[in-house]
Amino acid sequence: MASYIESFRFGEFVGSVLWLVFWILIIISLVGLPLIFIVLFYVPLPPLGDEPLTPYLFLTMVVDPTRTVPIAKYLIHTDLFRVAAFPGFTYAALFAAVTIFVERKFLAKMQLRYGPLYVGKIEGWLQLAADGLKLISKEIIIPAAADKPIFWAAPIAFVSVAAAAAALIPVAPGWVVADIDVGLVAVFAIFGFFPLIALLFSWASNSKYPFIGGLRALHQIIAFEIPFIISALSVVILAGTLNLTGIVESQIASYWFVFFLPISAFVFYLSSLAELERIPFDLPEAESEIVAGWITETSGMIYGLIQLGTYLKLYVLAALFVVLFLGGWSGPIIFPEEIIPGYTGEKIYNHVTLSAIFWFSVKTFGVIMLFLLPRGISPRIRIDILLHTGWYKLIVLSFINMFVALALIYGGILGPEGLLVR
């Protein structure tokens, strides 16, 4: 029955294809190639055999596979790889992407529906790429009287702050972007930026509902900052060091801290839910009360960036929970001695690192599922109940926990020569 609209003409179709090809060529030649050359010249390339590796030699080796393995092995241990790929941004972004997809399917299953289904043959696994492309192609609308510089800066700041926090998390022994010995305090310092960004963005978008949302974000995160820090502090008392890798090692030495400090783990879980603005504490973006809270005026890629930042934050907080309470990467070695026959001992390929990465990912994914659960079962709470729980109930609980930690130390159970320390 359907008939085509008369106004379709083949000439127009060919015109648009040519127009597209023209723009692709322009972008590749003016932007793509120079970028590759700049990266290749500045990245410290290893000497190949005797003579130094020049970019042109590098490009030829892409063709010859025998040369790629040593280059790849060398690149893996440079700092650029650590920051960009493994324990840094790409690993976190990969986790964030998987979390988005799992959350939509998990929530759908709990609500007796299908969730994304049609994009990508089996159960809609390509839905995420489709959403990303859609957000990139959407037009970015900036409110008329908005404060443009801050309006642009805030989403970028949001993602970079979330990524900065991801850099401090130790994923495997030796595999951490920045192994500073005041690790935990640095994470809290970075988390202090989020309320600031939320308020800046909502105030810059110059309309009433986002402004109320921004204020609520401010109240909420400040109210839950204190129990958040104190509950982590009791872990520092037990572990004796602020360095995150040190904390994990002290847990490997004795047992996981979640058995000693269950209340602190619960308080940390609740306040990280509030930090993430997830459902029970969803007030900054309460869509039925204040339209969409502080992200009302976002559209297109600005919304995409803020969503990426939120899910990066989710990964960071889940990883922090694992590092502080579930013993980081500790877990039985499950990989065989020689993963690649005849090749042992190299930094990344030995079985200790691989099983550490495996255990860390499994535990983080488990904690992320715990974060996703409340969205399915609980409504949003009101601002005064939120502040009441934050200031009165959680702070008291975290102080009780501080007392438990001190008792464990002075009772000689944990700490330098404690009973349970192996």
Binding site: M110, Q111, Y209, P280, A286, E287, G376, R380, I381, I383
Partner: protein, 386 residues
């Protein structure tokens, strides 16, 4: 600094529809507008002092279609399809009192089996409406599961109504003189299965929504409507029954076969937002057992409709009949002047009467309570504007 009460008094004098922001009174005017996700096709302007609502002025009329004027240009049967438009997912109830009023005017006697089928169809429709209302109440409080479950289970009853009347939502099934077609075969058994499964689902709602401590914290003791105020404001339906007055038209003024069904009118005494959200839930449970009794007592065979002549006419006169719809007493006052077209049709709907309670309850509460209080009034904007 002016106290809250003075601010409420001072702003009550402001009568303008369009409110200008005054710098020094530190109030922010928010238009919970026709597009706001928290209000549907209806706008009310609230003035907010910090987090407290100080002034609320409802401004309905965005979906006013002049149903009453349209009734005067059509004959009695042609009125049915457009009269169900104000609330299409409770269409059997809204046309029920119209049919009763016309039958009073023209002295038509509906056969017994037709009355039973009409009552069953209106009970099914009440479930569909209340589930839709409960779903929106869930998402208003941020509980997305509580939106999906009732919205999904509503399909059970829509499927039944589709088999019975032929259309999913706009049934046009209730005609002066009875119903338009008889039940398809196997309908009774399928109806009983769906009801039995639905009662298991109702237990789940209670676990995940009504007994959820966070939901209780948000609604208990919020916006209490006392018994005297409920009577003074003339509210109706679940809002009235939540304030302690067991008033249900099906029990008080039984129409058709409701006097042969024994059921208990569900009501609560606290009158707060929680009661107003729990009474419709109890009504749904009660409605399940009403449907079972109706299905048992229904005569096996017999006429379902008295056939009227093409342009039915009756003696001049007036009739006023009421029915208990999803949102309370829904009455039609029809004046006929002997011609096939009604001379004047006045539709008195529950939503319009509950609207008066909105500014009364909202003032003094917090901004976050606005959706919880507004939607607990069982207010359907389209029906209130007619």
């Amino acid at each position: 600094m002016a106290t809250l009460e003075e601010k409420i008094e001072e702003t009550r004098k402001l009568g303008l529809q369009v409110v200008k922001e005054i710098e020094e009174d530190r109030l922010m005017t928010l238009s919970v507008g026709p597009q706001h996700p928290g209000s549907g096709h209806f706008r009310f302007t609230i003035k907010v002092d910090g987090d407290y609502i100080v002034y609320c002025d409802p401004d309905p009329g965005y979906v006013h279609r002049g149903e009453e004027k349209m009734c005067e240009y059509r004959n009695v049967i042609q009125n049915i399809p457009h009269l169900e438009r104000p609330v299409i997912h409770d269409s059997n109830n809204i046309t029920y009192s119209y049919s009763l009023a016309v039958e009073d005017l023209m002295g038509i006697q509906v056969p017994r089996r037709g009355q039973f089928i009409r009552a069953i169809a209106s009970e099914l429709n009440r479930q569909v409406y209340t589930l839709y209302w409960l779903a929106i109440y869930g998402i208003f409080l941020g509980h997305s599961t509580m939106f999906m479950w009732p919205a999904g289970d509503r399909e059970l009853f829509i499927d039944l109504l589709e088999r019975l009347t032929g259309a999913r939502v706009t049934h046009a099934y209730n005609i002066p003189g009875g119903v338009r077609n008889d039940m398809p075969e196997g309908f009774k058994q399928r109806c009983l299965d769906h009801i039995r499964y639905f009662e298991k689902r109702l237990k789940e709602y209670e676990d995940i929504f009504y007994n959820m401590p966070l939901f209780r914290q948000r609604t208990e003791g919020v916006a209490v409507l006392s018994k005297e105020d409920a009577v003074k404001l003339g509210v109706t339906g679940s809002v009235l029954r939540a304030s302690g007055i067991p008033y249900d038209i099906r029990k008080v003024e039984p129409y058709d076969v409701y006097n042969e069904v024994d059921f208990k009118v569900q009501y609560m005494k606290t009158g707060d937002s929680f009661a107003r959200s729990y009474v419709p839930f109890l009504d749904m449970k009660e409605s399940c057992n009403i449907m079972r009794q109706l299905l048992d007592k229904m005569p096996e065979s017999g006429e379902v409709r008295t056939k009227l002549q093409p342009n039915p006419k009756g003696p001049p006169g007036e009739a006023y009949r009421r029915v208990e719809s999803g949102r309370g007493a829904l009455g039609y006052h029809i004046v006929s002047d002997g011609t096939p077209r009604p001379y004047r049709v006045k539709i008195s709907v529950g939503s319009f009467r509950n609207l008066l309670a909105l500014p009364y309850l909202l003032v003094g509460n917090k901004l976050a309570d606005m959706p919880a209080v507004y939607w607990s009034l069982n207010y359907w904007p389209v029906e209130a504007d007619r």
